[in-house]
Symmetry: C2
Subunit: 400 residues, 2 copies
């Protein structure tokens, strides 16, 4: 007899190639030793958290054994943390936010799922520039939403604004922007962001006249701090009153496992209060209940800090050298910590396999809705990147 | 224009009486001072966590600033924690569990939502003895499941096994048991549990012959450690191979805000491995990603400890005195930390209001699918219970 649903069974089958890759990696590491394998497949930030994490945790430890020291907090977050976040996001987003515009969440992922639960009706569409973080599909799919990917423009992978506009229908409930982008590392220009916000505004004006539920601009910003070569990431929240922002401390503070993120809404949005109440409700009813209280306190204590971003910058430059030396085509990413490099053959799985033979692990572009490319993550030590250079060359020679 | 869905808007409206009560409580506390109000409405464990929480957190602090010290862990949990949990649950459930039978979760709530996402098809029914923790409805409702409450037998609120059997249809995907029970404090006898497990086994035998997906016994056990007067809580996992168990450390270690729980499956279940893989997948795709790593480590370090349960026992006996003194009908709970007391009038909201006038906050039985009763939580200091005794008397006088 079947234990799971057909849909979940299909999901397991379709994600099994990622699993195969993961298992292949484990096998290689077992066979040749951890150090022999160049694993660029994982986005698990390995740069140590700031040293102050230790002292912050020690302070939390002292208070933890008081009554309610680690008890439930309000579903939207610890009041003092929401207050600190409102100030922090007000500066970052150049928008005057109050604590009641912020909900603390179980990572950026938890924020997005809570948001979709609050707004998605079955059949709703969510427009997203491709390539994209593949879990977006599941996040809205749980509630009957459907992702509508719109290819971005290689080689920079800036968004195709005209195509995004053309993709909007009366069923479109949101456009997701993710800048700096996973997997491309592209930082969207302020002009592009404005143009995308205008799509949302224009559509909402039409809906105000002709009926229909609101459409949102959803800015997913876990990589906001990761901007190099003097690039800046424009605030998204002020671009349209229909904007929601979400993010996390997973990458900026290397706290990914502790699951702390946030959701914030433009205070000028009509119905902003109801939306925040709805996201607070779904945070509860989806079983998150509240963002982990230790993580919330840690994040609040370290709001003005980040991990050493220069480490990621050095890796980025070193990875560029390694790829260039092998003749692999790529655009130097200005943001995040990924490279989205062109496969020398149309079927990028063949390239993935050739790299595997060199004990180099990367992720197929198919995993991001954009075949013909592979994603490489810089969440590894410089010496591993240095060691991979020859392997890249040998793999490329197979396609000459 | 509408921001949220109709369904979420309805949920917000229907939970607004709880909110009104919460706000009434805040108002009373503001007006008369925190100490003047006897708030028995909240199940937020206020007994301090064991002192070792502090030392465990300090150890975690030292390791936290290493690379990946607080990074992502596998979606099913930190391997060492799963291993410790498998041993712990093997003893507790008298069933030989391996780490691959356990998934760490964002509280028991996160475990249940992940489970329902893995198994519920739209239209599926989930049978539950009433009164019940009202969020169960939302947990399965997110995915089109429907709760089917079956009244338990007052005054003890032991489950009505015959009625549960009669409630099962080909659409039934699970029976939830929650013992010790929220809100009644009832500990189900081993005989009752066996009889409920037999319903599941009988139905699955029929389905094996005639077709259909499996039906599960889902044992929700966050209060397992809370058993008084020498009562014992029988292990549920061995009762049927179709049993899944979930629980948390929210109550036993007063860690509710840190969101750590677990899901475990009977290894003899046909398809157990697929079910665990599915729950691991949904843990990821629902945005939990993994249970908070600090909480996981804390729980693993304190597996053999609990808060001081004698504090809850003393409160229980004191609450019994206070209710008895006022002539309120109740069954002395053997488990958990709640009283489910009979309202002196049919409409228990009238009783709730009369208690409010005495600055005593309780929750209407309607909030648990069982009107005519109110729930009182013992998550408050003894002196508050003592102080409430006269208020109970005065409130009861109104109904004579």
């Amino acid at each position: 007899m079947q234990t799971t649903t057909d849909e979940i069974r299909d999901s397991m089958a379709s994600s099994s190639w990622i699993r195969r890759m993961f298992e292949k990696g484990l096998e290689l590491k077992r066979q040749f030793g951890e150090d022999a394998v160049c694993d660029f497949s994982l986005g698990n930030p390995d740069v140590p958290p700031p040293g102050t994490v230790r002292y912050a945790l020690e302070s939390i430890a002292v208070a933890a054994t008081k009554p309610l020291g680690l008890g439930y907090c309000p579903n939207a977050g610890i009041p003092a943390v929401r207050e600190a976040m409102a100030k922090y996001l007000s500066r970052q987003q150049q928008t005057d936010l109050q604590p009641q515009h912020v909900v603390m969440s179980v990572g950026a992922a938890g924020a997005m799922v809570s948001f979709f639960r609050a707004v998605i009706e079955p059949g709703d569409e969510v427009v997203v520039p491709a390539p994209y973080f593949v879990e977006y599909g599941a996040y809205c799919g749980h509630f009957g939403g459907k992702l509508k990917p719109v290819p971005s423009l290689p080689p920079t992978f800036s968004p195709d604004v005209a195509a995004l506009r053309a993709a909007v229908t009366p069923k479109t409930r949101a456009i997701i922007v993710n800048s700096p982008n996973n997997p491309t590392g592209c930082i969207y220009s302020e002009d592009d962001l404005r143009a995308i916000a205008a799509i949302v505004d224009d559509e909402n004006k039409r809906r105000e006249r002709e009926g229909g539920r609101a459409m949102f601009l959803l800015s997913d910003e876990p990589y906001r701090a990761f901007a190099f070569d003097g690039a800046s990431v424009a605030p998204a929240l002020p671009l349209t009153r229909w904007c929601c922002v979400l993010g996390s401390f997973s990458k900026t503070l290397s706290l990914a496992g502790e699951r702390v993120g946030y959701f914030a809404v433009n205070p000028a949005m009509p119905g902003a209060e109801e939306l925040v109440a709805a996201v607070t409700l779904t945070t509860r009813t989806l079983g998150y209940v509240n963002a982990p209280v230790i993580g919330q306190q840690l994040a609040a204590a370290l709001l003005d800090e980040t991990v050493d971003l220069e480490i990621y910058n050095r890796r980025r430059l070193m990875m560029a050298e390694a790829l260039k030396g092998a003749g692999i085509e790529f655009e130097l990413p200005k943001g995040a910590f990924y490279f989205f490099a062109k496969s020398p053959v149309e079927d990028d799985l063949k390239f993935v396999d050739a790299l595997l033979e060199e004990k180099i692990l990367v992720v197929t572009g198919k995993g991001f809705g954009f075949p013909g490319y592979v994603r490489l993550s810089c969440c590894v030590d410089e010496k591993i990147i240095a060691r991979s250079a020859d392997g890249f060359k040998r793999a490329m020679e197979k396609f000459r």
